[in-house]
């Protein structure tokens, strides 16, 4: 049987208590929520935290709601809730696209959006989704809260802006008119990590693309933000040629590495194909033309 090395465990009853524990225990402590990334790594003895702070009882962190011109999602919201949410399906359909292809029902029943973002695996879908949607995340520590743009949240492979003694508590997504969004993924098998995935959002105003957001998964050391492709799209009318042009930028601006899922040239190719497809679908949704 696969067994983890010895560790200590605390179960937090409030956000304040969780943060106090993390402050007290220091860098050897890890937050555990769904546990579907951390526990396998511990059992393979690739991760050796000395302490686990369990936040599964913090029901106050599980919600999906509208708050002014933002949709807010609590960090402990499970994948299955993101998948089922009618609010998200209507306003941000990219979430349902992504959640249908994230892992399997067992993982989706436990895994959380906060855990997915904090794991900061480059192949993780929700980081690309949040990049496309230009989300902000709320991080709380002993000194209070700070809000960080998703751009500044992922600082490297498996590294985020969350510091020791801090907890990610919320994801805030700005809601703007004329929006359409979509997620496209190619995987070797249902539930596998992406060979490559593309998240795209566009905001159409008066027949022109007012703004666009594109995030790619699994084609760089961390989530790839396609700023140059977004620039190509801004101010232009949506069209097949334009999306193909953005796709070409995607093939150029990603930096995949070869692994069991595929070689570099294939992943670059996929980044382009999937960017084009995601934009096509996002535009159809924005223009209410989806087949």
């Amino acid at each position: 049987m696969q067994t983890p090395a010895p560790f200590d465990y605390e179960r937090a009853t409030s956000v304040e208590e969780a943060i106090a524990s993390l402050q007290r225990l220091g860098p050897e402590a890890r937050v555990i929520a769904g546990g579907h990334s951390l526990l396998p790594m511990m059992k393979l003895r690739l991760a050796h935290p000395e302490y686990l702070v369990d936040i599964n009882d913090l029901a106050e962190l599980a919600y999906i709601a509208e708050d002014g011109d933002e949709i807010v999602i609590g960090a402990l919201t499970r994948h299955v809730e993101l998948l089922k949410s009618e609010l998200l399906a209507e306003r941000l359909p990219i979430f349902r696209d992504a959640e249908q292809v994230i892992a399997d029902p067992v993982v989706r029943n436990r895994g959380t959006i906060g855990g997915s973002l904090c794991q900061a695996d480059a192949a993780e879908d929700l980081s690309a989704v949040c990049t496309a949607l230009k989300a902000k995340v709320v991080i709380r520590g002993a000194e209070g809260e700070r809000t960080v743009g998703i751009e500044d949240f992922h600082v490297g492979p498996y590294m985020t802006a969350v510091r020791d003694g801090e907890l990610l508590t919320e994801v805030r997504i700005p809601v703007r008119p004329g929006a359409g969004s979509a997620h496209e993924k190619v995987e070797r098998r249902a539930g596998d990590w992406a060979i490559a995935a593309a998240s795209a959002a566009i905001w159409v105003d008066g027949g022109k693309i007012a703004d666009a957001g594109i995030g790619l998964a699994a084609v760089g050391p961390t989530t790839v933000h396609l700023a140059r492709a977004e620039e190509v799209l801004r101010g232009k009318a949506p069209s097949e040629d334009l999306f193909a042009e953005a796709g070409v930028v995607a093939t150029e601006d990603c930096s995949p590495s070869a692994d069991g899922r595929g070689p570099v040239d294939y992943k670059r190719h996929l980044a382009g194909v999937l960017t084009t497809r995601a934009l096509r679908r996002a535009a159809a949704r924005a223009l209410h033309q989806e087949a």
């Binding site: 049987m1 010895p6 396998p40 399997d104 539930g191 069991g260 070689p263 194909v273």
Partner: protein, 794 residues
């Protein structure tokens, strides 16, 4: 004909005998009430964990276990040195090679067993593994089978006297070279292909494990171990450990899948036994997923070059050269006189003029194994090769692949048919089965749809395979394993109440034996299947036999049960004659009852006869009483099931992603005892075939590091990759099996990968010029082939 509907069996429709009967064992499985090895906890039990080599090839300079021994919960640490004193450092394999139980001189594959820790709990045992210090001197590794015989290749098996290269066994041949050369010289079309059946793994959901419980006071060794051949294991332990065979009892509880992975004896088993003998307490060892994938019996790894030829529109000849990669030790599991298993059935379902097969086996710095995963002793590799070659030939001849098969099939009148490699196929009507598959698929309509889609830039492929298997090893005069004949015993006892217990040596791993074998007794004695208890999985309570693999349960043990039931029925006839005051020859049989010919009202039911058999009343002259019998069944030949499979795939033109949209499987396995169980076996095997064709691969880097050591990297298919399987059947009874049945468990795994790969190539050939693609057809590998640069799997 189609059996796609899977209607629940109504209570009233429960068959007495053969038919669609819900599996008896499922009541406990679906409630989570099965008992698997890890559910068993014995008093005083301690736990083992295995230290494994991080290197594929390295000399062991020293092993320091002192820090591990200082762990407060550690009872013992066993190394090769300790085993040497017990004479257990090396053990024989099924293929007359030797395998290190724990590495002493060198490690020869990554994941090889180096030291065994025994501790009070498994957490401590695993913690202590990290306290053992091994000093290794890394050596260059041999990873690629094609380079294993290069003159400068490091010699892996320098432990074997006289071994100067990496040849694992001498060149093995079947068929005839000269007549094959002649067939090729006379041919009008020849195709050549390099084809790899890559290394994959059976990956049963329950990994391997054991509890060894040696009682120093009595000398009795109790073993709990989910394996596929408990009697053979007991004999092996008696030989390996020098223990008295009658003092060993092996109990196989419920087994969470075997697929050939649970045939061999693994070093962990021997260590746990040695540990229990030394410690005098029960020792449990259960491997983890990584250990299962990286050290236990893998499957396939055949590197093949083949030529096939045709003359006047039909297939005439076949040449095959194989390099078999056995890994570091030759522990391939097959009948001993067949070092390449049954691979030489590669002449397939075709009436060939000649064929010639050569197999060379090599050692590499990879885990040992090779014959596993529902492979019917390498028939998977054979069928894959021949069915790929037929398609390649059809492409070259510009003829429909089904048409070429139909032209080249062995005709019904030719059976029994002697193949060019020495098999005697028992029965078949191949064209009829092919036709059923074409009708189910709507083959001509599919070809029209494909043409329309192609015109729109969509890629759709239709792939066919037609397989013939030889299963049910086997006849005593031809087949044995380590000198043990491949015969199976059966023991049937009908109790005074008319309820029966049948003991068998076959060992279910989920195949439904408790139902199927009860149905055989029910059919033969005419009593309800629920009145028949099937006893197996305990060497103390079942007759000797060689276990379940190679689709042999129904062909061998099933026949044994039929024969023993008929013996009991004949005995019942004698008793009935006495009861009815007539002669046995004046009695006639109907299900469950002997009656007087010409006076059908006058008769005796089996339960009445059973009651009489144990009573104080008069019995036939010289009759000892009781109603029981036992047999050992020696099959006169293998059984030869066959089938026609058609796969329909869609390939994404931009990403190379393959979706199996439809799968039509028409199997002829002779008489079906429980068609529902047969359907279930086929569903499972087809899912595995999709996995093998599309995603399953054990690959290695140049240093011999295994790149697929968990289910994150070794992918097994899910329901989402499987279409609703469309099944059909034809029934050509086996002429020599007492029930007319043939084996079926492995057919779907054997037959499906070539259909899928043929379909992928069919989708890509016309538009992208793809002539061959090796498995697995992952999106990346298919896309590479579409770009004109297909690559063999690494």
């Amino acid at each position: 004909m189609a059996t796609t509907e899977n209607l629940p069996t109504a209570e009233a429709e429960r068959p007495i005998g053969f038919g669609r009967l819900k599996r008896k064992e499922d009541a406990r499985f679906i409630r989570g009430q099965g008992t698997y090895l890890d559910d068993i906890r014995l008093p005083g039990m301690v736990h083992g964990a295995m230290l494994r080599s991080p290197y594929a090839h390295a000399r062991i300079l020293s092993i320091d276990t002192s820090r591990a021994l200082a762990h407060p919960n550690v009872a013992a640490v066993i190394t090769a040195k300790d085993l040497e004193t017990l004479g257990l450092a090396w053990m024989p394999t099924i293929s007359y090679d030797t395998q290190a139980v724990l590495a002493g001189d060198k490690v020869r594959f990554q994941g090889q067993e180096v030291a065994f820790v025994i501790a009070t709990d498994e957490y401590s045992a695993n913690d202590a593994l990290q306290l053992i210090e091994v000093d290794y001197e890394p050596l260059p590794a041999v990873v690629n089978a094609r380079k294993a015989l290069d003159p400068d290749a490091p010699v892996i098996r320098d432990d074997k006297a006289g071994q100067r290269d990496n040849l694992a066994s001498p060149l093995w041949e079947a068929g005839d070279k000269e007549s094959t050369d002649r067939a090729f010289a006379e041919a009008d079309t020849v195709v050549t292909r390099d084809i790899i059946y890559p290394r994959c793994h059976p990956a049963p959901l329950e990994t391997c494990g054991i509890i060894a419980d040696f009682n120093p006071a009595t000398g009795q060794l109790d073993i709990y171990n989910g394996n596929q051949a408990p009697h053979a294991h007991r004999t092996v332990y008696a030989h390996v450990a020098g223990l008295a065979e009658h003092m060993i009892r092996i109990r196989c509880q419920d087994i969470g899948g075997g697929f050939g992975n649970k045939v061999p004896v693994y070093p962990g088993y021997v260590c746990a036994i040695a540990g229990s003998i030394v410690a005098g307490v029960p020792v449990k060892w259960v491997e983890n997923r990584t250990e299962n994938l990286t050290s236990t019996g893998f499957a396939r790894d055949y590197v093949m070059r083949s030529e096939m030829c045709a003359k006047d529109g039909r297939i005439t000849g076949l040449r095959v050269n194989v390099i078999a990669d056995h890994g570091a030790f030759d522990s391939t599991a097959q009948p001993t006189k067949f070092p390449a298993g049954f691979f030489h059935i590669v002449c397939g379902s075709y009436d060939l003029q000649a064929s010639h097969v050569q197999v060379k086996a090599v050692y590499t710095n990879k885990a040992p194994g090779g014959v596993a995963y529902r492979c019917s002793f390498r028939i998977t590799e054979a069928v894959y090769l021949v069915e790929r070659m037929v398609d390649a030939l059809a492409l070259e001849m510009k003829v429909d692949p089904i048409e070429l098969r139909l032209r080249s099939f062995i005709a019904p009148a030719q059976f029994p048919y002697e193949t060019t490699t020495g098999w005697t196929y028992d029965s078949g009507n191949y064209a009829a089965t092919m036709q059923v598959a074409m009708d189910l698929a709507g083959y001509n309509e599919l070809r029209r749809e494909q043409a329309e889609k192609r015109a729109r830039g969509e890629l759709m492929g239709i792939g066919v395979s037609f397989f013939t298997e030889g299963v049910g090893a086997g006849p005593r005069k031809h087949m044995d394993i380590l000198g043990l004949s491949m015969n199976d015993g059966a023991d049937l006892r009908v109790h005074p109440s008319g309820k029966a217990v049948v003991s068998i040596s076959a060992q279910t791993q989920g195949q439904g034996h408790e139902t199927t074998f009860a149905q055989i007794v029910a059919e033969e004695l005419g009593i309800p299947p629920e009145d028949v208890e099937v006893r197996h999985g305990d060497t103390d309570r079942s007759p000797y036999g060689l276990g379940t693999y190679g689709s042999r349960s129904t062909p061998v043990s099933g026949a044994a049960v039929a024969v023993v039931s008929r013996k009991v029925r004949d005995k019942a006839r004698q008793i009935a004659a006495t009861m009815l005051e007539t002669r046995p020859e004046d009695l006639a049989w109907e299900k469950g009852r002997w009656y007087v010919k010409g006076d059908p009202e006058k008769g005796a039911l089996i339960e009445e006869i059973a009651a009489r058999a144990y009573s104080g009343e008069e019995l036939p002259e010289g009759f000892e009483g009781g109603l029981d019998a036992q047999v050992i069944y020696d099959p006169p030949n293998l059984t030869y099931p066959y089938g026609a499979y058609i796969a329909v795939v869609d390939v994404d033109p931009d990403t190379g992603h393959v979706k199996v949209r439809r799968f039509i499987a028409v199997d002829d396995c002779g008489v079906r005892i429980n068609p529902m169980i047969v359907d279930g076996q086929i569903h499972g095997g087809l899912a595995e075939g999709i996995g093998i064709a599309l995603m399953e691969l054990l690959s290695f880097d140049e240093e011999g590091n295994c790149l697929n050591s968990s289910f994150m990297d070794y992918l097994i298919p899910t329901a989402l990759e499987c279409p609703d399987f469309e099944l059909g059947e034809t029934v050509t009874p086996c002429p020599h099996h007492p029930l007319g049945a043939k084996g079926v468990g492995e057919s779907p795994n054997v037959g499906s990968p070539p259909a899928i790969v043929n379909a992928v190539i069919d989708a890509l050939h016309e538009t992208h010029g793809v002539e061959h693609i090796d498995m697995p057809c992952t999106p990346a590998r298919v896309w590479a082939a579409m770009q004109g640069r297909p690559e063999p799997p690494q």
